[in-house]
Chain length 405, copies 2
Amino acid sequence: MLVPIKAQQQSSSSVKPKKVSVLGSTGSIGTSTLEVLRMEPKSFQVESLVAGDNLELLVNQIAEFNPQAVAIRDPDRVGELTELLKSRNLPLPQIGAGAVEIEALAGGDASHIVVAAMVGMVGLRGVLAALHAGKRVALANKESLVAGGKLVEGALKEGKGELIPVDSEHSAIFQVLQGERMVNLSGITLTASGGPFLSRSRQQLKSIRPEDAVKHPRWRMGAKISVDSATMFNKGLELIEAHWLFSLGSDAIEVVIHPQSIVHSLIKLTDGSQFAQLSLPDMKGPIAYALTYPDSRLSAIMPPMDLCALGSLTFIPLDPLRFPAIAMARSALTSGGAAPAVLNLANELAVSYFFQGSLTFDQIDAFVAAALEEFGTLNYASIEELEQIEAQLRRELQPGFIAKD
Amino acid sequence: MLVPIKAQQQSSSSVKPKKVSVLGSTGSIGTSTLEVLRMEPKSFQVESLVAGDNLELLVNQIAEFNPQAVAIRDPDRVGELTELLKSRNLPLPQIGAGAVEIEALAGGDASHIVVAAMVGMVGLRGVLAALHAGKRVALANKESLVAGGKLVEGALKEGKGELIPVDSEHSAIFQVLQGERMVNLSGITLTASGGPFLSRSRQQLKSIRPEDAVKHPRWRMGAKISVDSATMFNKGLELIEAHWLFSLGSDAIEVVIHPQSIVHSLIKLTDGSQFAQLSLPDMKGPIAYALTYPDSRLSAIMPPMDLCALGSLTFIPLDPLRFPAIAMARSALTSGGAAPAVLNLANELAVSYFFQGSLTFDQIDAFVAAALEEFGTLNYASIEELEQIEAQLRRELQPGFIAKD
């Protein structure tokens, strides 16, 4: 090689397998994580698994990966889990349940890496505990950073923990930023598929049913994130997440619709140059990168991409009237304090009401806007205060809340 | 910032202006280089200029940049240059002329960086002299690397010189490789605009006139490189250049047609991910990068790029029958020895015969193919042997040479 690129040393820690804890192991990111770990048994070992309600899948995962510890969300189902394991003659791991024990496990087990892949704000305590314990957090739970960015920042400042993004957009930015001076970074472009309803007018959104909303055109993913992708709240949350991860203001973060989901995001450099990371849509790529960074990449994690077979990559401006979620996210980011947490929780609740049938699809935006209007000036200084705000919002933000407007 | 990206230190050498020598200052890359240097007088100082026949422009450049030394290709025109300078009351720099004095200047002046932007094989001795003298060579003269790759490799191994690519494709690859482990690199994709005649059949190529061939759809560039872009020999030379720069075999280098010339090239990583560098087509970007690397980028060197305004980026497979230059380049690369030099010089001569009217456009391919057939097994071990081969080829590869087939 004639150009001056230094061959980076492999870190010595890669000799022993790294122990991994997967918070949210039965979800979409969790199962993709286990697919990656399955491919690389010499490099990784599953230390613990945390799951929600899908005990059957959890038992299969326990049978395959033999973790030291597991925890589930619902304390009332520990007996059921124990019976399932016994009925299959599986050795019993240590079993915990409930928020407090999940948090204790994230901070207290022997894992080097915690994959934070639980959906919603519930993951924040686990993320903070893992960072306080000096672990790497592979962050797929964007809600915890959106709601508690200030707390995550504090945990990173005080300890030896580190945060690696797993969202495909933020992973793309993190990857292409590696060789670049931060002083050269003038902004980023987050790409958005536009979701399944890109071509529908706002008028037509009213009739969308939950079963339509979970059919994403490009990515296989969970139900809540599929709806967030259709409303573009997912991109709004990512905008706030990018602010925290890369120290960028709202003005430096552009959102562009890219229906093919091949360019996962771009960085803009001061000289006018831009860097993009591209791949077929497959979360195993960003997950594996977050697990291995800064060591060598794993091989053939994603199928090879043929640009000519794709033919064309298109980029479409985002219509701010069609997708008010982006402007709401920018406004919440600028307001600061608990405003992003309000946006996030109001959206989480609105989506659950949509699935319950108590809100129509097009009311999700209005619900979040009303919540921001009412509670957007709240602030917090600790996890406890943030959780008090959350509890208050859960009480007040009932489906009927929107009727007040 | 929450992600672990180290803030790289600015090298202390950036405090004093770096002295720059521009070989080929009146050509397209040369004038773009001076545009960059004009923008950053605190960072750079023109130490010397080397030009071909455009003495009028050279005199204007001398008047503006006040170099310590200049050299021109033709020793018979030194008197003319001196008169032009005197008539404008300009202080006389040291003036040299001819290949030997150009080489002496490239190795012997006080410059830190030599921008090698002369067209054709003539630049090789200057490149080697600058590398032997421990300078940085910003390489725009791909022909010198194609013809004398082995010699450039030798000069880099023995000394403190360094080579930074200026071709937009190789600069793109070099830029996005910065943060990556070389062990992760599985290949690259060179993008090609396809040139002005992409939609014409091989039958229709016969009628192309020199004045058609220099109209490139995307890039403003010199006459020879415009023809090379239309025949795709430019991309063939870049393929061989990439082999030397990045230690890649022919199989690891893909060529894809990308008519918009926005994605300047891509790297393929072992996990299935790809990185691309994008910008509006403007050679000031890669030139400035080669001048400043690894310090901060210069600001606003290129106009900002709006993906949505571009709308669509397309990628088309290269038809190997339509563009035999690529297969010839791969074959020359695999043959090794002097084969790439033969390909390069045969193409250089064929293009000059095309401009003289002694070859038609469609005969350029056949001319090069015949030359490779006849001389492709030659080898060389020194610059002198390579120059003997060059002299022999210049004698034998007359326009009539092709008639033998």
